[in-house]
Symmetry: C2
Subunit: 343 residues, 2 copies
Amino acid sequence: MNATVIANQQFRLAARPVGLPKPTDWRQTSEPVQEPRDGEILVKALYLSLDPAMRGWMNEGKSYIKPVGIGEVMRAGGIGKVVASKSPLFAVGDYVSGVLGVQQFWTGAANDASAALAKIDPAVAPLPKWLNALGMPGMTAYFGLLEVGQPKPGQTVVVSGAAGAVGQTVGQVAKHKGCRVVGIAGGKDKCDFVVNELGFDACIDYKSGSLREELKTKCPQGVDVYFDNVGGEILDTVLTRINLKARIIICGAISQYNNTTPVKGPANYLSLLVNRARMEGIVVFDYADRYPLAIAEMAKWMRDGTFKSREDIVQGLEKFPEALLMLFEGKNFGKLILQVSGE
Amino acid sequence: MNATVIANQQFRLAARPVGLPKPTDWRQTSEPVQEPRDGEILVKALYLSLDPAMRGWMNEGKSYIKPVGIGEVMRAGGIGKVVASKSPLFAVGDYVSGVLGVQQFWTGAANDASAALAKIDPAVAPLPKWLNALGMPGMTAYFGLLEVGQPKPGQTVVVSGAAGAVGQTVGQVAKHKGCRVVGIAGGKDKCDFVVNELGFDACIDYKSGSLREELKTKCPQGVDVYFDNVGGEILDTVLTRINLKARIIICGAISQYNNTTPVKGPANYLSLLVNRARMEGIVVFDYADRYPLAIAEMAKWMRDGTFKSREDIVQGLEKFPEALLMLFEGKNFGKLILQVSGE
């Protein structure tokens, strides 16, 4: 392979979006693939992960990770194949996960901390699973639920965005730990999926307009753990149903990310006082040294057929801008992935 | 003493307030003092505690304690003297603390759970202190700070309502535990008091309009523990300055209790996510079995002169309605107490 004559198509951040990202917030560029120097590798991107968190990375301001700069290639996690290597850490043909960016090829130091490349084994699970249950969303779900949520067998766990990448895993891990699990999702298809395919005990279609009533009937013992991916009205409504000493995991707030008005804070937060309850944030990177344990446990469940996951795969790097919007419109059904190339 | 000929003046809840309690929300009644029957005692109220929480007790709806019913004597903690006893638990002349209600005399079973009577020792500290640092506000401060807040020596603790009953104790306990302590209070007098009299490291006058800037300069290492008594804009502003793994104790939200619009939820709550921080409620009753330990420790500090507290004592039961409003207007300076009778 002669990498120097191959073009690398990229999406760069052209402007900080106001509200939903517009086509003009992106700039599509093409540059020659960079050949690896000593210690570097060249990775061909196969699958890119599209996540609600990406919206936050596009904003200016201090957060848990630095914003993507104007003119920079948009940050994205992905799965790729090593196509050239001048590092002993990875060999040509290895599959890796890491922060590859929204582009066809990634070149850089094999031990680059911000890329966080790791070898993955396609024999353990198909590649897209490594962006879902065995990737960041799965790790977020696993450690957020178990470490922050501290669910006990028999307790009721509620998760919003239940059919999404994080929600699928939250619910199934909670079931494996002996909890009653109630999902919240948008639409009958997603609700049917998490109950019939993933084994949740119940699911509430928040679009039905009866969230408050259904929380009562479907969580007759109240809510012990709430894993929140959405924020807004749903968080506020669940706060009215929490039990004493409940734990609320703040993982995201997809309903608020594209606000042009200030974020809607949870007006019912004093329910934390009344119930001596806790609301706590999770950032997955804090648990990096324990990812292998979580992967091993979930891969075992996958092998024995007691853990499933669903991906929604969009084809083609050029679809990136419109595919990203699917997340904020609730149009994806399962973990949203952009397939950049065949293997 | 012939109790039957003595009148017991009372304040009863006449209507559920909308916004600030109005004079017509109260009904003043007078009834003959009830003589104790077997197992009962008669307590003459000396001091009644006026607390922000009372506003919540006047609302309908589920909370950590049942609402005061329309027509019932308003609930209030207090200090009194036993003037007649048909119970072996208390003798005439004993001083007691308990839920006496807004009235001059309390008669009931010596072991009545909702009154929660306990003998107090005026030799340990003057009676009003038993409604302040050695009473509910002090216990709330002590256990909220230490159990929920988990401050470590050298960390920065911020407390709002710093000159109030809870705030005074939060700050001084935190100083005793080796923390840097920054208060937030309304006005220069209160700020001077907590710094010069109570030994806080600094205080921010939120009325100065520069809370955000002063939080930066007075908490150069950020905020590790925030003890919130006020909610609203102050909570939201502190959320922008919290450190990784910060703990926010939700003790009250005096800025929101008289809202006729919905409570303002903390719009910056996603700072919990970014900082993997925690927001947790405290209800003091959960720590009842350990009150004696807290009292012993703070009484020791009082004796050795390293712990002070200030009360704002209003004279006369008839002043109850207007005195209560002082809390919501920030007019009290120190723990607000209504003196019902001389000893």
